[in-house]
Symmetry: C2
Subunit: 432 residues, 2 copies
């Protein structure tokens, strides 16, 4: 694991190199995805079933075999051990309550000459959630994608999840049940994205697709963007911890692990003004690592992209954090509120020693789908606002048409758009 010091010459360059990450867009992947999407668009269910049987080692004869309704989802929920049922329900309740605060509402007002202006907020009609299959099938992702859509008032939520070799994950179906998903199709890959985007005989076209996936899924989402809405294509997961040097070093080591265990290219960085504390965390890492089931992934991630960084003080740590704009920012300090005004760019901020990032992944309430790779400079967590949209409302009175028409006429003529000007002028009512 790298050890950096913000006072060293070349620190800026080393930090930049540490953060550098380019999503490789493999042209072979793109070509195969283009062919699959075109085929599903043209042949619908037949193509979807063929690709599913081929890529997921299935023997489905019809879409009915690949479809689960609410009853089947409920059955999966009821099959779970009581502790898991309770934990899922508690997490869903907290996530739902937080997201309810995000609901936007329509508004309108009239100005002085009776012109009505407003913004009508409506939910999307149909949303498709993509959930990866196999070992990376995360029920928490189901909650985090489906609940904001549900809270927004989306009319119908469908979910796709591949079941390679026919292996079904009850936790994922149970999460879909709790989150209010209407229908699940056990299909995945580019073919599932294409089916949602274009529609097939059995799957109705959706308006937006959200959720993580592999390179094929990401390429397919990029391809269908515009036909439907998509969420952001996520990069590797990241955590930045700012610590004042008095949190139990084991806690911080485990927080770094919990990010690193996702992926060899995940990123875990600690900023602290106290060199001795960085040593202590390094010792904790060494001692705790062998006990972790995913120690190989963790070790690779920390070696590749991790760093322990000594900073001058916490002010400097905040400036570095703003530059990094991390997905997850842990503020493991005595008075986290005091540093909040200095922090501008982050997906989520975990304040205080007791707030481990992993609570946010599951049940604190806020969404765990967060902007990665410095995109928190301009992007937000997934939220209810991603499943609502706005329509502007304008109604001018006879008087308003006269007053506004004169302004529009001058500007339209200035742009050389005579029909624009004439449309306004026809509605003038006052003699000049």
């Amino acid at each position: 694991m790298q050890r950096l010091n913000s006072g060293d010459a070349g620190f800026g360059e080393r930090l930049q190199a540490l953060l550098a990450f380019e999503t490789a867009q493999d042209p072979t992947v793109d070509e195969r995805v283009a062919a699959i999407c075109a085929d599903v668009k043209a042949r619908g269910d037949a193509a979807l079933i063929e690709y599913t049987n081929r890529f997921d080692r299935m023997q489905a004869a019809s879409m009915a075999e690949l479809t689960l309704g609410r009853d089947a989802l409920e059955a999966a929920f009821l099959r779970l051990p009581e502790a898991q049922r309770a934990a899922l329900s508690a997490a869903a309740g907290r996530v739902r309550r937080y997201h309810e605060k995000q609901l936007a509402h329509s508004w309108q007002y009239e100005d002085e000459d009776g012109t009505l202006l407003g913004q009508q907020v409506t939910a999307l009609d149909r949303v498709g959630i993509y959930v990866p299959g196999g070992k990376a099938a995360y029920p928490s992702s189901v909650l985090m994608n489906a609940l904001p859509a549900k809270v927004a008032g989306v009319g119908e939520i469908v979910m796709v999840v591949p079941t390679p070799g026919g292996e079904r994950n009850d936790l994922v179906f149970a999460a879909a049940y709790i989150a209010g998903v209407d229908q699940v199709y056990t299909v995945g890959g580019a073919q599932a994205v294409a089916a949602l985007a274009y529609g097939t005989e059995t799957i109705a076209q959706v308006d937006k697709i959200t959720g993580p996936g592999n390179a094929y899924v990401a390429a397919a989402k990029r391809r269908v963007f515009g036909v439907v809405g998509i969420d952001m294509v996520a990069g590797p997961s990241e955590i930045l911890v700012i610590c004042d040097g008095t949190t139990d070093p084991d806690w911080i080591a485990m927080d770094l692990f919990s990010q690193a265990e996702h992926d060899e290219i995940a990123q875990a960085i600690l900023l602290c003004p106290d060199a001795a504390y960085l040593d202590a965390v390094a010792a904790s890492i060494e001692r705790l690592l062998p006990s972790m089931p995913r120690r190989d992934i963790i070790a690779a991630s920390l070696a590749n992209r991790g760093a322990l960084v000594q900073v001058t003080d916490l002010d400097e740590a905040c400036r570095i954090a703003n530059y990094i704009a991390p997905e997850h920012l842990e503020l493991s300090v005595a008075d986290p509120e005091a540093w909040l005004p200095a922090l501008k760019h982050a997906g989520a901020i975990f304040m205080g020693r007791f707030t481990s990032e992993s609570l946010g992944d599951y049940c604190a309430g806020p969404n765990h789908v967060l902007p990665t790779s410095r995109t928190a400079r301009f992007a937000s967590p997934l939220g209810v606002y991603d499943f609502q949209k706005r329509t502007s409302l304008i109604r001018v009175s006879r008087e308003g048409a006269d007053r506004l028409g004169r302004i529009a006429s001058v500007l339209a003529h200035g742009e050389g758009l005579t029909a624009h000007a004439r449309a306004a002028e026809l509605r003038l009512t006052q003699a000049d």
Copy 2:
């Protein structure tokens, strides 16, 4: 201009064919754009100046010659005729006031066991506005892109606008002055987008780029997306008019013209239950067209993509409008409010006979950058929300860490993520 009837066999297919529009992504354009972007990223100002001199027939020796500060913008404003100054100022004031209603604010709350949850809303640091040059240089676009950023509290707003052959448009610079743009660079094309996205010696990297452009600009924006945020890539402009058959047919004809005059592939459609009224509008079109300076563009647009559609009644018109999800929807009927609940998908709704769409283009207040090509099903007008972003806040108490930690632990073990579980378990404080 096509004449359709919703009662005819095959109407659905004909409507779909009328709406069909695919943005061709020319691979040659993509390759050239990739090379330009890589070159500007590597060589900065030098490359930017070279491309500008070559593509825009300029002889600039340094970036200083391509830079306008606030003083130069103010001078352009003061050079305008009084009527234009007044119209620009009035439009800017109305647009600013409408957008101020869109400002989102931070919030937080504490739940029963002292867990603080919240959402911190902050503005983007730096935004770049792209403005096309030459004949399509629209001062209204400057207002509509820059003012929402200004209202959001963006720290710095820079603008790029090409000046082919050195020809500068005072109206565009004046609009930049009024909207609060900090700096203008007279560069354009893919090279300008790359300069904003990656930064050069004189142009600091921005966080988001908005504004329309040609195929090269659109390809460059798609390419740099992820490094910076971008707005949507717009398709051709569209209007859908629903009329009850009692508005002056000349008004409706001119409203259709005002959309059609943008572009040969712009779309103007009228829905009305009254066949005689459709005849009257057709007659108005024929009579008024010869007087329009842009009659060739209007005629091509109406012939290619326009339609007069007879519907059964206004209920059916609303259902068709929801399917089309038009950029601009004119509700030219006696009681427009009555139909609002039936309308779900549109960029902006212009209510009542006096509300010509062109008022919305310039000065009603709402934004004229709107979702096109049926994307109003999931997308919104450009707004202040495009220049703000959210950060989730979580602070759990010692008690909260215990209660939430137990939930997180069960779910993390269910996902096979042991470090996630251990990070939560280390913070448990209650004996079991």
